[in-house]
């Protein structure tokens, strides 16, 4: 069973960035609605019903911006009421709802991105761009985990010197500055050992190659190609003016033509590819189990 997150990182990134990217520039409320739905469904599928704070924050966006947008935006013709001598228009509210949905969908897609891409995969992507930077990235990640441990040790050692009072704001700041300073010395001084160890293993001798676990399978290529084709067609159709909503001065919803519905349809398939993939894997697995 190969989960979506076990696919080649480039394939996953291309898919997620295209999906989120289209959501970023779309103002089609229906398309955004589906985007939000797919993203949220995939998030819940991956993580279960946890992280309520994030759900609340993301899903309240449409409401919040719908309230805020009319405060700065006097465009639109359908005046609902006046507030502080400023007109509050229906169009501005609808535009706010759309902007909120857009933000919320993008937030969910990025949350999915964080879930799917651990640091190792980011490293894999960065490596294509700049192997040197990728190495610095990997070293920094390692240092973070080492320093977290060292920070605890330093804190205890310094606390046992008994120079500071407990539960005292000023002393708390002073001890954290002090601990940080000790950590800084420790990190800088011991960094030279790392540099020596790198030099001893031939770093900088010649142009580095870059090793990776990840392979490309046919399935990854298909996923990437499908994502690219779908995204390209959506972008082309949007550039041609299909499926565009207009909010100011009045809301104009595009007509029910094949192109206008098609563009949303294609996007929905694109956005639900991860869901489809996971569903397919679960089914195959179940069939296999039955055969055993």
């Amino acid at each position: 069973m190969r989960h979506f997150q076990e696919m080649n990182p480039t394939a996953v990134t291309v898919h997620l960035l295209l999906t989120a990217g289209i959501a970023m520039f779309s103002d089609n409320m229906i398309l955004l609605g589906f985007s939000l739905l797919c993203a949220a469904a995939f998030y819940v599928m991956q993580k279960g019903m946890t992280n309520w704070r994030f759900h609340f924050f993301a899903l309240s966006m449409p409401l919040v911006i719908a309230v805020l947008n009319p405060l700065w935006n006097q465009h639109g013709t359908t005046i609902l009421f006046f507030m502080n001598q400023r007109a509050v228009t229906l169009e501005a509210i609808l535009y706010g709802v759309m902007a909120g949905m857009r933000l919320s969908a993008v937030l969910y897609w990025f949350q999915n991105f964080t879930l799917l891409m651990n640091s190792e995969k980011i490293f894999y992507l960065l490596r294509c761009l700049s192997p040197k930077l990728a190495l610095v990235f990997s070293m920094a990640l390692r240092n973070i985990s080492v320093y977290q441990g060292q920070l605890k040790k330093i804190h205890q050692a310094q606390k046992a010197l008994g120079m500071y009072r407990e539960n005292h704001l000023i002393d708390d700041i002073r001890i954290s500055l002090r601990v940080f300073s000790v950590l800084l010395s420790w990190a800088l001084e011991n960094g030279i050992i790392t540099a020596n160890s790198m030099a001893a293993r031939g770093y900088g001798v010649q142009k580095r190659s870059s090793f990776t676990h990840y392979r490309w399978t046919g399935y990854d290529l298909v996923l990437t190609a499908v994502s690219l084709v779908m995204a390209a067609s959506v972008v082309w159709a949007a550039a041609e003016g299909y499926g565009q909503w207009q909010y100011y001065p009045v809301v104009v919803v595009p007509s029910c033509s094949v192109m206008n519905i098609g563009i949303t349809g294609i996007y929905v398939i694109l956005a639900s590819l991860p869901l489809i993939h996971e569903g397919k894997e679960i089914l195959t697995w179940k069939c296999l189990l039955r055969k055993i």
Binding site: N73, A99, L103, K132, L141, R142, L188, G191
Partner: protein, 227 residues
């Protein structure tokens, strides 16, 4: 990207991708979607970052400098995970001052990506990378001035804390309302005053408390590492 075995093809892609493809993409999108500020701003920021990265890869960077950049990045990420104090800018500034402008940019930008693994990635990540990167770059450029007098360093720290917050407010405005409007930006700035203050004050406290000892440590390291 598929692993490309031919070094030449790789090099060509390394030049074509950042130098031609991304700027072209930015121009095309801003022509095709003139209304979409959010997308355009994001692309411009990414473009700036990629250009920098591509430049970095071609430059010779010594083993020791690479180690120091990774050390400072890790320290500032750890700093961002601290409860009240957020000394990211302060550490970025010090790196820029003592390791050079380019390393300062790198420390700032890398700390943004890495700390967002803990704080949550989002479309804001490239903006944070650029903002902190610029703070480090500026510190590198102003290094002779900042090293000479303590108060210049503190002022730079306070300003960069505030500037970071204000740069991020531009992002907030564009993303929330789809376009940039001065009124909305002002409101965003006002509503973010507590954060701006937190950033500015913690930078000042940090640089005031640790500026001198950290400077000493850096000078010693410069000598010890032979930079």
């Amino acid at each position: 990207m598929i692993v490309i075995s031919s070094g030449r093809v790789r090099r060509i892609i390394g030049i074509v991708f950042p130098m031609i493809l991304i700027p072209a993409l930015v121009l095309i999108t801003s022509y095709v979607f003139p209304q979409n500020y959010a997308l355009n701003s994001l692309l411009i920021v990414i473009c700036a970052l990629v250009l920098f990265v591509a430049g970095f890869d071609r430059r010779e960077i010594g083993t020791r400098r690479a180690v120091l950049v990774s050390v400072m990045t890790a320290l500032s990420v750890i700093g961002r995970l601290f409860p009240v104090m957020k000394p990211v800018s302060a550490i970025t500034i010090l790196s820029g001052m003592y390791l050079g402008a380019e390393s300062g940019f790198l420390v700032g930008a890398l700390s943004a990506v890495l700390s967002d693994f803990f704080m949550g990635q989002g479309p804001w990540t490239p903006f944070q990378m650029l903002s902190w990167g610029l703070i480090g770059l500026g510190a590198g450029w102003c290094a002779p001035l900042l090293c000479r007098r303590k108060w210049t360093l503190l002022v730079y720290g306070a300003l960069s804390g505030a500037a970071f917050s204000m740069l991020m407010d531009i992002w907030t405005t564009i993303w929330t309302y789809g376009r940039f409007s001065a009124a909305a930006y002002l409101t965003a700035i006002v509503s973010a005053v507590p954060f701006t203050l937190q950033y500015a004050v913690s930078n000042v406290i940090f640089l005031w408390g640790l500026g001198k000892p950290m400077g000493d440590k850096f000078k010693r390291i410069q000598k010890k590492y032979g930079l």
